[in-house]
Amino acid sequence: MLLIHCPYCEEQRSELEFRAVGDAHIARPENIAAISDAEFEEYFFLRDNPKGLIFERWRHISGCGRFFNAARDTVSDRFLKTYKAGEPKPSLPIAAMTDETVVETYEATEGRAE
């Protein structure tokens, strides 16, 4: 079970109390009626799905109910930092990332799928 630090409750709580709600820091276009369909698709539907660092919105739905943002490593599932909604993206030291951590993946054991 993951323990997630809620910046509003100021303590770590079980992941059972939380819900993931997608990518963070996606700015809504200023004039959404004026943008093209392609631009709307980019804003509304397309997400990066990176391997490694990702900034996400989470909600402490069965706790204080607040939305907050989290920097998370998609390889190890480790939460690197959580911060209140509205705060800027934190700069994270490279050392916080776990690129070097050996994680058992298909690529590691079987080679790249070509």
Binding site: Y8, S14, S62, G63, C64
Partner: protein
């Protein structure tokens, strides 16, 4: 035709527990889901004659009335007597969102040496006295149901749950109490 609707308590007849845990349905109470911005807190506290806590996981008590911190702008106010809490909150005259949830919620009192173990059967929170002292409160999960925990004594908790979840919560608590009895 009956002139009055009879009130049916959601946990009427419920009993459960073990050698170390006693489970009792709480008496009907007045409850208020209160949301307000920081500048309205003072006036509401004056009207309710009860301070509204602003620190996470804390509560305030005055007589039969309790204010439980649920979120940065959200409180659960419980009065163990039948009181018009919405009317009292409205008399503060400040911008707020106050909803009477007296009949939406019901509560189970969990008491005894095994009380925290019985609740931990379905709740992931650390209920040690260091992490969850007397007076601490929190909205959390209990099995599949959302509950509000309120520690009223070293070995006593009030578990607030939605009326429709009451059979589930009481059943799981009874199972947890059995496990805690060993």
């Amino acid at each position: 035709m009956a002139d009055l609707a009879t009130r049916t308590l959601p946990l009427r007849g419920f009993h459960g527990g073990s050698a170390t845990v006693r489970l009792t349905p709480a008496a009907p109470a007045s409850r208020l889901s209160l949301r307000a911005k920081p500048d309205a807190v003072g006036a509401l506290a004056t009207a309710l004659q009860l301070s509204l806590p602003t620190r996470p996981k804390t509560s305030a008590t005055s007589g039969t009335r309790h204010a439980l911190w649920l979120g940065p702008d959200e409180w659960l106010v419980i009065d163990e007597t039948e009181t018009d809490l919405v009317g009292i909150a409205a008399s503060a005259g400040v911008l707020q969102s106050a909803t009477d949830i007296s009949h939406r919620n019901t509560a189970i009192l969990v008491e005894g040496q095994g009380a925290s173990a019985a609740i931990n059967a379905g709740c992931p929170q650390d209920l040690s006295l260091k992490a969850f002292p007397v007076g601490a409160c929190s909205r959390t999960v209990f099995g599949k149901a959302e509950v509000v925990l309120y520690r009223t004594g070293e070995t006593a908790f009030r578990v607030e749950c939605w009326r429709s979840f009451a059979p589930y919560v009481s059943g799981l608590l009874a199972a947890g109490a059995q496990d805690a009895g060993h």
